[in-house]
């Protein structure tokens, strides 16, 4: 089975869209390389991060392992989320798991 992995640009746009729906307009001006907790303060607390992780999982059909994956690192900025998601999708495609 051949699976096409979305480009990093597409992943970036979809992640920004997912996060905007959960965090609101405060997120609009946050750069993708910014630390979300520093940029958003209490608007990006641990529980909001959990919601965003679930939303990204749902958007891309991936699973985040809270033990094996360093979620504090990978979900601290949009850029890191894009890298994490892209790698996870590439792994799935290589294994023929689809997305």
């Amino acid at each position: 089975m051949t699976t096409t992995v979305p480009t990093t640009e597409e992943i970036h746009d979809r992640i920004r869209s997912v996060l905007a729906a959960r965090i609101g307009d405060a997120f609009t001006d946050v750069p993708s390389d910014a630390d979300l907790q520093k940029a958003l303060g209490e608007r990006y607390d641990s529980l909001t991060a959990m919601e965003c992780i679930s939303a990204v999982e749902g958007e891309f059909g991936i699973e985040v392992d809270f033990v094996a994956d360093d979620v504090r690192f990978w979900f601290s900025s949009v850029e890191r989320m894009v890298r994490f998601t892209h790698e996870r999708l590439e792994d799935s495609a290589a294994l023929g798991l689809g997305t």
């Binding site: 609101g24 307009d25 405060a26 209490e42 608007r43 529980l47 991060a49 959990m50 809270f66 033990v67």
Partner: protein
Amino acid sequence: MPDIAFATSGSTGPPVTWLRTEAQLRAEAELVHEAVLGSARFGRIVSYAPPGHLYGRLYGHELPRLRDIPVTGLWDEPLTVPPLDDGAPTLLVCLPSTWQLLARHLPALARHGRVTALHSTGPATPAAHQVAGRLAETGFRAHELLGSTETGAVAHRPIAGKHTGGVPWRLLPDVEVLPGTLADDGAAARRLRVGSPRLARLSGAEAPPDDWELPDLVAPLGPRTFHHLGRASRLVKVNGVRCDLARVEDLARERCPGLDLVCAPVSDPVRGEHYEVFYAGPETVDPAALRRQLGRLPSGLPAPRAVHRVPQIPRGATGKVLITELTAAARPAEEAEHV
């Protein structure tokens, strides 16, 4: 030993301090251990509840001290998975948000087979019922406590899978129920009024009250069992943090005069309960600006989950806000107005 202070947000005003004796704390930890947890011998307690609040203090400090049980405190790390590798019988002290984490680790919980979860500070979330249902055939057990900072734990029940319906609450052995105030709508529901040796003393008072009426509306079943029907007050608990919506409305109106503004309670899959703000007013006040105004509420009151501008606040003939119509009216504009 001085009494231990626990602050609440106050029912209608500024924060209130309630005092408990060491003996009351010990008694409650012992009672729940015996009556709810079956005097189980735990090899570890993992607590997600902050010890500055009564619930976290009781099961992340008092019970471990009484039974000499090591504690892993994760109240500042709600995304950290509980340690389950060594197979020790484990008590998880859960907040509403903890269940989203546990739902991600069902296989590990099932394999472990000796985990008991204690839940309080707000209604059990859909994830709690999902976890309980999925692990029903394993050694996993889950119990829910109902109570308040003023009363301590009042009643308990097992957390059941989502398809089993409402399980009745059972009073703890030292709690006595007294006739509570009838609900406004004239139904059989009454507010839950209780007496017990564990009622807290209001700071400045000489003694605890004889009894205390909680905001919870209940329908009696047997002499010591009841169904929980909701709350009479406008209190919500955002992941266990009490928030009086009437107080938030007063504060919001002070900061933004001229707005017709209402707080509506909403269920939240992570935090159990939350609230959203709806307002009608001048176009010059946009939801983002109001959201920023409400971002720093005093006394630890949680900020709203969302702010919505609506054409008008729908009200019935008596002036009562029609919450269902209000929330439905806002949904089509959610993408634009959810901030």
